[in-house]
């Protein structure tokens, strides 16, 4: 039952990934794209967690951890750029 659930989840998360990607490429405004990028990062975390359960391997957590952290820094930096232009001041 678990493997069926994981398969369904893979399909759903992949779909989420594609939808976020669509928004990223479509825009239309910069905040839209940044939001899409942020969502993409989070979708990727979901994907990695699923992969970990699927393969019974805990090797993917570091990547998930880093993605959580890096996605945030990227979003903050980009938003700050839109707001202030100058990100380290």
């Amino acid at each position: 039952m678990l493997s069926i659930a994981v398969s369904i989840a893979f399909a759903l998360v992949s779909g989420a990934l594609l939808l976020s990607l669509f928004r990223l490429l479509r825009g239309p405004d910069k905040p839209d794209r940044i939001l899409a990028l942020d969502t993409l990062y989070i979708n990727t975390i979901a994907l990695l967690v699923l992969l970990g359960i699927h393969l019974s391997s805990s090797l993917y957590f570091e990547a998930a951890l880093l993605i959580a952290m890096m996605g945030f820094v990227g979003t903050v930096a980009l938003c700050k750029y839109l707001l202030r232009g100058d990100i380290i001041e």
Binding site: L18, L24, I67, M69, M70, V73, G74, E89
Partner: protein, 935 residues
């Protein structure tokens, strides 16, 4: 090991002499003299060996795999030259202390001089040919510094450059010759080379090897047609000329002829080349010396002429001629150095070196005049002076040589002509300067120089006289061992007496003396003739022409290749790479697809790959809107790291993720100062062309990847995989490679990173750029610098992020992670604080001085490496052990973790340094917003 000290001491002393000059002008003179004395003392324990017929060889292994050791030898020849270099060095140091003017920097002068002295000692004491060549090049470089000592003078710079170009080219040729020579005998050690004369002379490559080595020797010793650099080197201060052109630099060339004399001489190629060059140089030098109005110019050409004489003697190739050559090396060094010093005194006292104006100095400086007269008589070859003895031997050798050849009268006749000119220019040096009427319009009133300035000249002149009158009691033993060193056997019998009875040599000497006096007496018409002929034989014009041609050629090639268009450069680059790759691949006849089975593709990987392709294309479409392109590119990096994760490269994925964010921050910092949109600059046809080229390049890379991935993979990777745990004590092969197997590379890489960080810091340190005050659409920036929610919550994240970093660092040796990634994570965690809370807030709480962090990182890396040396293992050998900690369990402790800590610190320091200073560039452009935000 004392020979190593002899060579090393002047190099160390060079720094010392330059350093002590800050305590007073004369300190460096004392220091230089002291250093030279110490080197002499270091040499003394070895002095007896050559006299006992031994050759000392001292060896320190250096790169044994290449047959390259630090190995020095001392035999008679080396001893003679070492004594000349050091002894003459002492005299020149004393002389220069009085010669240099108040405004000349003493420390620099003596520093260069000692540098040169060390290089010269290295040449004469080298046992290994490659080592000799290194010192040879060092003399070229240090003499360049010495000749251009007066950097403000154009002639000094030109002269130094010319000397460097000519001797440098010669050194390059000599390297080729040495490699050929070494390959012939299978060793670069002189002892082996010298013992294999027969083998070398019968080698088919003997002639090219000889030509290459002679090119080196001839350029250094200013032999025709490379003689022209020497007169231009006269722009150097006179002590430099006295040193370089009497006993040292130019003698290096004839030293090499003497050194390799036993193996190279005795063939017709040797005779033709060496006699030809020597004779031409002898004649040309003697002729031009007579017609130079500049005192130092006269001495320069006479030096060329005497070097030709010595070369000619070695070219004759008989053992006795070699003895005469060595003897003349000694004699020329003494009288030429004293003459240069006398010329320096005259220049110093008169303010000019033009012999048409300097006349009748006898009245003002009779003492200097007497000294100069003795030295000039030695140069002319007058009996009772040392030059006479070697010149007699020289004349005698040419007669003996000619007896066995057709055209037997030609060589003696030619050398007599040169002898006549030598007498004439020596006479001119004395008569024109000290007699011949009154001085004309001198800038200064001449008088005798300070007492101690004359001492070196007196010593040298005394040697000229003593050797000339009592050769058997003075120079004989030294000459004997030096000749033994040259011939590598006992020299034949020779007699150093002044009077040998009436023979051909004596008659030639007499002809030369009388002819010289006659020529000088009838000089006026000759001078007029020479003035008319001037410019016909100007080697400098040829050199300049060649140089100009070379520059023009280089310029033309550059203009063709580099039009300043990046597209064009890329086009050339990509198309050549494609052509080479395609031709190479088609030429090999291998199929594009290898025989490895393909793996099945799963749905998620396929999806991510397709997404990757779409996003990449979209980035290209959006590239003119820079910020948008940057956002989309962020997704690109994320997808790439997903693929890394999928295909079992977690370390790469972690690195890619961290680098991605650092890149975004870096580009945003730069984008602030840049246009927000890239204008379209290319026309449509060009864009179509560029698209085509890009597709070709991408297609090429894809084809390459395809053909690599479809082939069975065998590489060094298996070795690493097998040895990672037993050899490096870590299960994470990537990390073990970085900190252990390839630790030395990593050390180099973090040094480069540290340098890059410091370099960027140096460039940005005082740079203040005004940033735009509104965005691209003209909207002013938001007033809220650090929104509260962001500021507060980000602070909360810092300990979490540091925890992640520590975790990644500590487990790095066995599981994905390591110092580099951990360093990036820490840097990003700290950058996050700068982003959310601002520079000031952060700097209050954390040091803003990152240099110590970088320095500590490098130091830790280096010390870890050195620690293994202490325990007798090669540099950077990793040690590891398993420790059982209560609660936590088995823990592995590897010394590599200390090295990784070094990597970590450098990465943190350099990344932060670069990003923060990029951010600080605009600091001044927000004058009203500098107060800390009271959040």
């Amino acid at each position: 090991m004392n020979l190593f000290f002899v060579v090393l001491i002047p190099f160390l002393g060079a720094g010392l002499a330059a350093w002590v000059s800050r305590f007073g002008r004369l300190q460096s003179a004392w220091m230089a003299g002291g250093v030279t004395l110490v080197a002499l003392i270091a040499l003394t324990p070895s002095l007896p060996a050559p006299f006992l017929g031994e050759t000392l060889v001292q060896r320190i292994p250096w790169i044994p795999a290449l047959g390259l050791d630090l190995v020095l030898r001392l035999d008679g020849l080396g001893l003679l030259f070492a004594l000349m270099v050091l002894g003459m060095g002492l005299l020149v140091i004393l002389y220069a202390r009085y010669y240099l003017a108040e405004r000349d920097c003493m420390g620099r002068f003596y520093g260069y001089l000692l540098l040169f002295m060390g290089s010269m000692l290295g040449i004469v004491l080298s046992e290994n040919l490659i080592l000799l060549l290194m010192f040879w090049e060092l003399t070229s470089l240090s003499s360049f510094l010495l000749i251009s000592y007066w950097q403000h003078r154009e002639d000094a710079r030109t002269g130094a450059r010319m000397a460097l170009a000519v001797t440098g080219l010669g050194g390059l040729a000599m390297l080729g010759g040495f490699v050929l020579l070494g390959e012939m005998v299978g060793s670069y050690d002189l002892s082996v080379v010298l013992a294999n004369g027969e083998l070398i002379r019968s080698d088919p490559l003997y002639t090219p090897m000889l030509v290459l080595i002679l090119l080196g020797a001839f350029t250094k010793s200013a032999q025709f047609p490379f003689h022209f650099w020497l007169p231009h080197a006269m722009a150097a201060p006179t002590p430099v000329s006295a040193y370089l052109h009497s006993a040292t630099l130019v003698k290096a060339g004839v030293f090499l002829l003497a050194r390799l004399f036993p193996v190279l001489s005795g063939t017709s190629q040797w005779s033709i080349l060496v006699i030809g060059a020597g004779l031409a140089t002898l004649l040309i030098g003697a002729y031009f010396a007579l017609f130079k109005h500049d005192i130092k110019g006269l001495l320069a050409y006479s030096t060329i002429s005497h070097l030709g004489l010595i070369t000619l003697l070695f070219g004759i190739g008989t053992p006795l001629a070699a003895v005469a050559g060595v003897f003349h090396i000694i004699n020329h060094a003494t009288f030429k150095a004293s003459l240069f010093m006398a010329a320096g005194i005259i220049d110093h006292e008169c303010g000019t070196r033009d012999m048409r104006r300097i006349n009748g100095l006898w009245r003002y400086m009779p003492y200097t005049g007497t000294l100069a007269m003795v030295a000039a008589a030695a140069m002319a070859g007058v009996p009772l002076f040392n030059g006479f003895l070697s010149k007699e031997m020289f004349f005698g050798e040419t007669v003996t040589f000619s007896a066995n050849h057709t055209w037997d009268w030609l060589l003696p006749a030619a050398v007599v002509v040169a002898g006549i000119f030598a007498v004439a220019y020596s006479l001119r040096f004395i008569h024109d300067v000290f007699f011949n009427g009154d001085p004309i319009d001198l800038p200064k009133t001449p008088h005798e120089p300070p007492r101690w300035m004359k001492v070196p000249v007196e010593i040298l002149v005394a040697i000229c006289l003593l050797v000339g009158i009592l050769p058997a009691f003075t120079v004989a033993p030294l000459l004997y061992v030096a000749a033994t060193g040259v011939l590598q056997t006992a020299p034949p019998d020779y007699d150093l007496a002044i009077w040998h009875g009436v023979n051909a040599a004596l008659i030639m000497s007499v002809i030369a003396l009388i002819g010289g006096i006659l020529i000088y007496a009838g000089r006026r018409p000759l001078f007029n003739l020479a003035t008319k002929l001037e410019g016909l034989l100007d080697a400098r014009a040829v050199f300049d022409g060649l140089l100009k041609g070379l520059l023009a050629l280089a310029g033309a090639v550059t203009r063709i290749l580099d039009t300043g268009s990046l597209q064009r450069m890329l086009l050339v680059f990509i198309l050549s790479a494609l052509t080479l790759g395609t031709v190479g691949f088609l030429g090999g006849g291998a199929p594009l697809t290898g025989d490895r089975d393909l793996l099945p593709a799963d749905a998620v990987s396929l999806l991510v790959t397709i997404a990757l392709i779409i996003v990449a294309l979209w980035t290209v479409v959006l590239h003119r809107r820079r910020l948008t392109a940057l956002i989309v590119m962020g997704a690109l990096g994320l997808l790439v790291s997903l693929i890394f994760v999928k295909f079992s490269a977690p370390d790469l994925a972690l690195t890619q993720l961290s680098v991605e964010v650092v890149t975004i921050v870096l580009l945003l910092l730069a984008l602030y100062f840049l246009p927000q949109y890239s204008p379209a600059e290319s026309s449509w046809p060009r864009r179509v062309r560029d698209i085509g080229v890009a597709c070709l390049a991408g297609g090429g890379a894809a084809a390459l990847t395809w053909s690599v991935l479809t082939r069975p993979y065998e590489s060094i990777a298996d070795y690493f995989l097998e040895n990672s745990v037993p050899g490096g004590g870590g299960a994470n092969v990537v990390n073990v490679i970085l900190v252990d197997f390839r630790g030395f590379d990593t050390l180099g890489e973090i040094s480069v990173l540290a340098l890059a960080g410091l370099g960027i810091y140096a460039m940005l340190k005082d740079l203040r750029l005004p940033g735009p005050t509104c965005d691209a659409r003209g909207r002013p920036w938001n007033w809220d610098m650090h929104p509260v929610i962001m500021a507060a919550l980000t602070r909360l994240l810092l300990p979490l992020a540091l925890l992640v970093s520590a975790f990644i660092f500590l487990r790095g040796h066995n599981l994905p992670g390591g110092g580099f990634i951990a360093g990036l994570i820490t840097a990003i965690a700290l950058i996050m604080q700068y982003l959310a809370n601002g520079v000031e807030w952060t700097h209050v709480r954390m040091t803003s001085n990152l240099h110590p962090v970088i320095g500590a990182g490098l130091l830790i890396g280096l010390l870890t490496g050195l620690a293994s040396l202490v325990f007798g293992y090669p540099f950077l050998t990793s040690a590891f052990t398993h420790v059982h900690w209560p609660v936590i369990g088995d823990f592995e402790l590897a010394s590599a973790i200390a090295f990784d800590l070094g990597v970590y610190l450098v990465v943190v320091g350099a990344t932060l340094l670069i990003l923060v200073h990029l951010g600080l560039m605009h600091h001044a452009s927000h004058p009203g917003e500098q107060e800390p935000n009271h959040a």
